[in-house]
Symmetry: C2
Subunit: 457 residues, 2 copies
């Protein structure tokens, strides 16, 4: 069936026309060269494309979009292809879509060649980056100007500015600096009919009309293809301190966090995990437990500042009045990394137990403790002999819920957890977006018939 599409005259004509625009070598029609673009890095999502086109400039993106629109060929913009919800690759069944409407599988538009990174504007602490610039390249440029980019992700070597804008990428420091949205001063983007909109002037204050750049952030390529972004940079904070704190439970951990927010200068991360997960991590990695005694809930906090933030954190911790054996502090880099490992090894540890059901949810901060208790009950009921591992970004109310045990294709436990999230006024997608993975849960999310709690005070 697929070859028939590819032999379709219109698609062949389009590929030829685009070759005139971007160069023959940047229109990939062979299945072998296309393959890397047609499947996401997790291997869970993917499907056939008509071809892959790699424009090298905003003007070329404009010509490509216009040509595809004129021939009704659907398009999928793709950045570094590191997304977790399959939003940047074709669907398994896209080639079977209604041919009266779509004459072919989608064309993938890879933005990776639009990788111009302008010099850092040190006067304004800003930089203009093409959609294909990787996070690592952006971070390096900021660092060489004595500045930093506020968002950091594990996929930094592949994740691109365009994709991070389109998905409003989050990460570890959202509680201090906000997500990608907060870093965007303006965008250049191409609409479906080829028109270019642009606000790259870097004006910090500009109250002349709607902020269309902000509308595009997190829109996942449904409104326009982002080709460049004007981004704010933040001062580099070289002085850091990390503390691991033990608490009887989530409630106590969150009370402490609320106090640290008000008193610990430069607080930029507050990660939460639990004793069952920590036990698995320590035995999987063969590392010693971090504190003498066991605690119900653990908080890993990090402060960063231009001046040494350790005294400030110590003072704030004293006001918490924690027992001696509930605190581990690290100032030098190796010790800080050792404490971070307890949090960071959670993902790897979970995957070593089997194929996990992974959910990425946010709760109103004031309901996080109740959610933790409730989700344990829900999973116990829906999948009695499974392993539940919870961890996440406590500072953002963002929990990663991992369940190992139920068949990967059995969605009943996911469904039960998401219904709980929705009923408690939370979000079914904290930082990963909708893409293909969440389109079904999203319909659940939008269902007004599920009763949910109102605002949280």
């Amino acid at each position: 069936m697929l070859p028939a599409f590819r032999e379709d005259g219109r698609v062949r004509d389009l590929a030829d026309a685009l070759a005139d625009v971007v160069g023959r070598e940047h229109v990939l029609v062979d299945p072998e060269t296309r393959a890397g673009y047609e499947r996401d890095w997790t291997g869970r999502f993917g499907g056939p494309s008509a071809f892959v086109v790699r424009p090298g400039s905003t003007e070329e993106v404009s010509s490509v979009l216009l040509a595809c629109a004129e021939r009704s060929v659907p398009v999928i913009p793709q950045g570094g292809n590191t997304g977790l919800v399959g939003g940047g690759v074709p669907g398994k069944h896209d080639s079977r879509a209604d041919r009266s409407h779509w004459p072919s599988p989608p064309a993938i538009i890879s933005l990776s060649r639009i990788s111009t990174l302008e010099p850092v504007d040190t006067a304004s602490s800003q930089v203009t980056a093409g959609a294909g610039v990787t996070l690592a390249a952006l971070q390096a440029a900021a660092a060489s100007a004595g500045l930093a980019f506020a968002v950091d992700l594990a996929a930094r070597d592949s994740a691109t500015v365009g994709g991070m804008v389109a998905t409003n990428a989050g990460g570890l420091h959202v509680m201090r600096h906000g997500a990608m949205r907060s870093q965007v001063l303006g965008l250049e983007a191409v609409l479906a009919d080829g028109r270019v909109i642009s606000r790259l002037d870097g004006l910090v204050k500009d109250n002349t009309g709607y902020d269309l750049s902000q509308l595009l952030v997190g829109s996942e390529g449904t409104l326009a293809v982002v080709t460049a972004a004007r981004l704010r940079l933040v001062p580099a904070m070289h002085e850091q301190v990390v503390a691991l704190l033990g608490f009887p439970g989530t409630e106590e951990a969150l009370v402490a966090l609320a106090l640290l927010r008000r008193r610990a200068d430069g607080l930029q991360a507050a990660e939460l995990f639990y004793d069952d997960g920590l036990e698995l991590v320590c035995s999987h990695a063969g590392i010693p437990r971090p504190l003498v005694h066991r605690w119900g809930a653990y908080l890993l906090v990090e402060c960063a500042s231009m001046n040494d933030p350790a005294d400030g954190l110590l003072e704030a911790l004293e006001s918490l009045d924690l027992p001696d054996d509930a605190t581990a502090l690290a100032t030098d880099a190796p010790s800080r990394a050792r404490l971070w490992a307890y949090r960071e090894l959670h993902s790897e540890t979970v995957s070593s137990k089997g194929v996990p059901h992974k959910l990425d949810v946010t709760l109103p901060q004031g309901r996080l403790a109740r959610f933790e208790a409730a989700v344990r009950e829900v999973v116990e009921r829906a999948a009695p002999r499974s392993t539940l591992v919870l961890f996440g970004h406590a500072g953002d109310g963002n929990l990663h819920v991992n369940v190992v045990g139920p068949d990967p294709d059995d969605e009943s436990v996911d469904d039960a957890i998401l219904r709980l999230v929705i009923s408690m006024g939370g979000s079914i997608s904290a930082e990963h977006g909708i893409g293909r993975a969440k389109s079904k849960p999203w319909r659940l999310f939008l269902n007004p018939k599920i009763p949910r709690q109102g605002p949280c005070y």
Copy 2:
């Protein structure tokens, strides 16, 4: 002509219908009771309304908007009526508008009664405030929870949350915390047909669809009437230090500012002014000049932190290698206020010289020095014997351009300045919005025929 409108049966019926919704005492039809709502506080803008209606809840706003829409009566939402561009009051000529389209002058919808301020959510450092809550009330609530609201304005006792959201209000600390936009986690608002949209759950991370709340920020009531906002609060920063620095000119001041951005912990304000303005301020207020020698340009910087930021600022200043007589430092509150007065007395001083032409513009940070030189030439040419006073928020590239001399009704100097701003890639409205005052310059701004410089690196 106007009485005829007011006697119009449809408008009278509408007022009666709304009285059933909000209570008779909250539909103001008498010219005397309407007067305070029909004119802005500067006295420059205003015009007759059909009536003023003061709904007390979101549901009442919904009913009011639906009823007005059904009868094609235009509406103007109004907050604290402290705007500077006449966006919250009827226009002088609204009553002469095309009657085939609008059967009456606009109805003013005052949001002042929607003033519920929920308890501060200390777990998340957030609060939900009704549109009519004043900035002062919001600040007081935050302070009593050991937190602060990041935006501050001189009009704090009257300015309301709804108006500040609708105009994306700025202020002194934008360089650190962003404008109103950056404080908004979500909004409740009513569309023109009475439908209510609401995102007050305070989720820090939620990537499920377009962020419509952000689209409403700065939309000046053109898309919806904001009835409540979920706002982030920031830690209270009680330790403060202020320094006044003298430089040969703007270029040197901005180089120093770029370095302070990277090295001065907690930098939150950087205000710029000039020797001619300072001279006028000192003689107007009868206060001594702040530094022994005269300098071309002055920078007033403020750092605030949980821990004392003075040492950090001193260290950063040392690396600037300024002459001894170019620096004045203040740590105690009275001394800080004395230094701030040199900047804050600029507005009052300018007004004492006559009715000023006032422009509020932003330039790309890297072009601010060139703009300063160019605007002096432009004003010298357009209004040779006038007094030009420049001051503003250097950290945001935001200058307030004041010209005293030309007749207040003669717009040629304003026009010349705005054309310069546009040609240099700046914005004609930094923080005040479009409203009525800027609608004509805005058309100039949108004119693609004015050549302008591209992005600034």
